[in-house]
């Protein structure tokens, strides 16, 4: 599988939108990300459900940032994508009744959930305004 880069890309986009009165069209954003407007609509659509951006159709439409950068965290964005496990590693279920397999799965699941919790803690500490270039 190719890696999921949506979080990094959309964080990038939202910061740039804030430079432009908080608005942009899918077309403009797609050019920024070297991709297709449809990809942008999919990614931004997920954020819309969380209330971080809104969209309008028709001429002069596009996307608008609905919250200041300091009120949006990486965790907010991450969760907006409705993620499953962020790991490439999973338990096995060849023999669900085998006590050894179950013990192995239990141990692995615990390690995965501890690491996931740590990941989310770290994401929660990152707000988008931290990505702004320093004004010297």
């Amino acid at each position: 599988m190719s890696k999921d880069t949506r979080l990094a890309r959309v964080a990038h986009v939202l910061v740039h939108m804030s430079f432009n009165e908080g608005t942009a069209t899918s077309e403009t954003i797609a050019a920024m990300l070297d991709t297709n407007p449809v990809v942008v609509r999919r990614i931004m659509g997920a954020l819309r459900e969380g209330g971080y951006v809104s969209s309008e159709r028709g001429p002069n439409g596009g996307w608008r940032l609905e919250r200041p950068l300091r009120e949006i965290t990486f965790l907010n964005i991450y969760r907006a994508f409705d993620p499953g496990s962020p790991f490439t590693i999973a338990t096995s279920d060849d023999h669900p009744k085998c006590v050894v397999e179950r013990a192995a799965n239990r141990a692995l699941s615990l390690a995965l959930s501890e690491a996931t919790a740590r990941f989310e803690q770290s994401l929660a500490k990152i707000t988008l305004d931290q990505l702004l270039p320093r004004k010297t």
Copy 2:
């Protein structure tokens, strides 16, 4: 991508081998995992490089556990597979010179490496003898 279940599967196998004087053939193990002997050879071959098992060819050959269960951790097994990042999430590199993208990548990388460290810490605490059924 489908998920990587090698760690859970091979942990399961090694514990079962310990019940049988520490030996088994690829054929036997494949039956245990509902798979093909070639898949088993691939997985076990990685462990051989770490010295956790050895193999012998010819009649009466097969795989032998070379260390007691309590001396093999999930981290040992995990590392034997020469893993890349265990995450499905990665940074983006659409515009490597954009300071905003770089700041976003830096923040995300930190979160990923903190979570990876936590994952490995958890794996290191799990030894295979912890998977043995309790003798009552």
